[in-house]
Amino acid sequence: MAVRELNAVDVQAHRRRGHFTRAMYRLLRKKIAVACIIALLIVYSGGVFAAWVAPHDYQFQDYNVINKGPIFVTDSGLKAFWTESHFAGTDRFGRDMFTRVLWGIQNTVILTIVAMLTGGLFIGVTLGLLSGYAGGKVDAVIMRTGEIFGSFPDILLAIILAATLRPRIVQWVRWVEDHTFLDDLVKSGVADYVVISLALVSFGWIGMARLVRGQILVLKETQYVESARAIGASTPRILFRHLLPNAISPVVVSVSMGMGSMVGVEIILSWLGIGIQPPRPSLGLMLFEGGVNLSILRNWPWLLLAPGIASWLMVLSWNLLGDALNDVLNPRTR
């Protein structure tokens, strides 16, 4: 690594910032990490703002372009280039693949972020904190429960839940529809979101809880925690002010890696037909339609490649970013 000369001001600035901030600066100096962050920003904002960005309607069928490869309209201005081209071709119903991929990304993005926030971060970190700090019976109950959930191979558990819970959840959503001012919930696919998030959360919390618990077990024996306790700091203060910030580095790495695998599981679920239901586009279903029959792949490869590239980009960027984060946050393992 290049030796950089630091002047006195620089050194002071470095000292004032925490370990985490310094690590983030190191991260931004890595080309691969920056490329990943940019790729994720583009893909994710394309997905989140699909309603505004997408050039077509995802259900609109144009019978003039059925199973056509990428079409670029270049001769009638910039607006027409965006709204009349089919950047990724069209499917057998004449629907624009680029638009459908964007909407598919939206589903994947919402699901994985919701599952990660609730399962990985909220449930996982809280239980890990509790388990590590309280110890004793609380620890035993939480960790044994984790062990039971963890003794299913995670994809098996996700499949069982996604395949069986749907009717019950749809019932609940209907009930909510009937008893509140909310309408059209069933049609909007909320039930699908709930089912898949539950399936993803079911295994998503275990690894995180174990990780945080391990960190806390080490940290709670340190002198600064002991002194915090000695001057009468409350338990929540010790937990959130002293323990959590010091345990955050591995959590960040594991979130980044975990996002990659959650994207993978979500795609497998909708590929198997138990994820997002049509007509809503999902990457998994598009991959299924484009790849299950070899003659489709031979004649119209974009049907498989367009959703394939989108999911590949997401998984790859999260994994590479996780690697880079691991490098800057845990220098010992370098």
Binding site: I32, E147, I148, S151, F152, P153, D154, I155, L156, I159, I160, L161, A163, T164, L165, P167, R168, Q171, G260, G264, V265, I267, I268, W271, L272, G284, L287, F288, G290, G291, V292, L294, L297, R298, L304, L305, G308, S311, W312, V315, L316, N319, L320, D323, T333
Partner: protein, 309 residues
């Protein structure tokens, strides 16, 4: 060591008890009546009632559970709801054996390519080869298997005619190549990365320097000291990669038309064929738990520090 094994073994039935109770509960509380699935949309209520009686679905929940588990531990997994009169065991064991052979082939590919690759690039740390291969493995690992497999098929069967395109005749046949490679490729990347990390860890230890200092040739140091020690953590990972293979095999079996356990499992869920789903889930969980246990025991055997913590 004996105490450690005893502790772990004692815990095994307790985990399996909860796993089975959880699975059983999931399938009993979900809506969707197996009797309705069996009889179709138009059925006479009396018939349905009699069928429920016959299948023992009207007994209290815990009695059903106890009865099922008592059969399960004696190796009797009940009879299928859908294929009446056929023991679940005869239905699933051949399919499991088939999927297991596929998984074994895939794992063999991952190990044979992944471990030496990881070992090699660990020795190249600091040169461009190391980051290049690490990035390449990540790039390959991220390709969804539903893309890899059709592309492999198109290239090697339709275009080049090297292997037959689909179907299944048994383990030792060229037909196993594409599904095994498709499944194995993911593992290659994962194993290579882990092996690299583990080898780097060992290379930094003092006893490696000692080995060099006492005059062993680099090849001998690698063979006697580095490789053996780097393998220890890998053993635990192999059990976990089994889980990854299960996820992939659902997809591989469906694309390739292989009559394995994955597709059968999904069908059984949709048809509410509880005994089949239960048996597959439980056997899967037992395999997984035992594999993890074996991995931990191997680890504890090689690294005594684990036993006492």
């Amino acid at each position: 060591m004996a105490g450690y094994i005893a502790r772990r073994l004692l815990f095994l039935p307790i985990i399996l008890f909860f796993v089975s109770l959880m699975t059983f509960t999931i399938f009993r509380i979900v809506p969707g009546d197996p009797v309705v699935v069996m009889l179709g949309p138009k059925y006479r209520p009396e018939v349905a009632e009699r069928l429920r009686e016959e299948l023992g679905l009207k007994r209290p929940f815990l009695v059903q559970y106890g009865d099922y588990m008592w059969g399960f531990v004696r190796g009797d997994f009940g009879e299928s709801f859908i294929k009446r009169g056929v023991p679940v065991r005869d239905l699933i064991l051949p399919k499991m054996w088939l999927s297991a052979r596929l998984a074994a082939a895939a794992m063999a590919i991952s190990i044979v390519i992944g471990l030496p690759l990881g070992f090699f690039i660990a020795h190249k740390q600091g040169s461009w080869i190391d980051p290049a291969i690490v990035s390449a493995t990540l790039v390959i690992m991220a390709i969804p298997i539903m893309v890899t497999l059709p592309v492999l098929l198109l290239t090697f069967c339709t275009k080049l005619h090297w292997v037959p395109c689909s179907g299944w005749t048994g383990g030792f046949d060229s037909r196993i190549l594409i599904p095994a490679v498709g499944l194995g490729v993911i593992g290659v990347a994962a194993l290579a990365r882990l092996m690299r990390a583990s080898t780097l860890d060992v290379l930094g230890q003092d006893f490696i320097r000692t080995a060099h200092a006492k005059g062993l040739s680099p090849v001998q140091v690698d063979r006697r000291h580095v490789f053996k020690n780097a393998m220890i953590p890998i053993v635990t990972i192999l059990a976990f990669s089994l889980a990854g293979l299960i996820g992939g095999s659902f997809i591989v079996e469906r694309i390739m038309g292989i009559p394995g356990i994955g597709g059968f499992f999904l069908d059984s869920i949709f048809q509410r064929d509880f005994p089949v789903t239960m048996a597959i889930t439980l056997i899967g969980a037992i395999f997984f738990v035992v594999a993890n246990l074996l991995a931990d025991l191997t680890y504890a055997y090689f690294d005594p520090r684990i036993r006492y913590s």
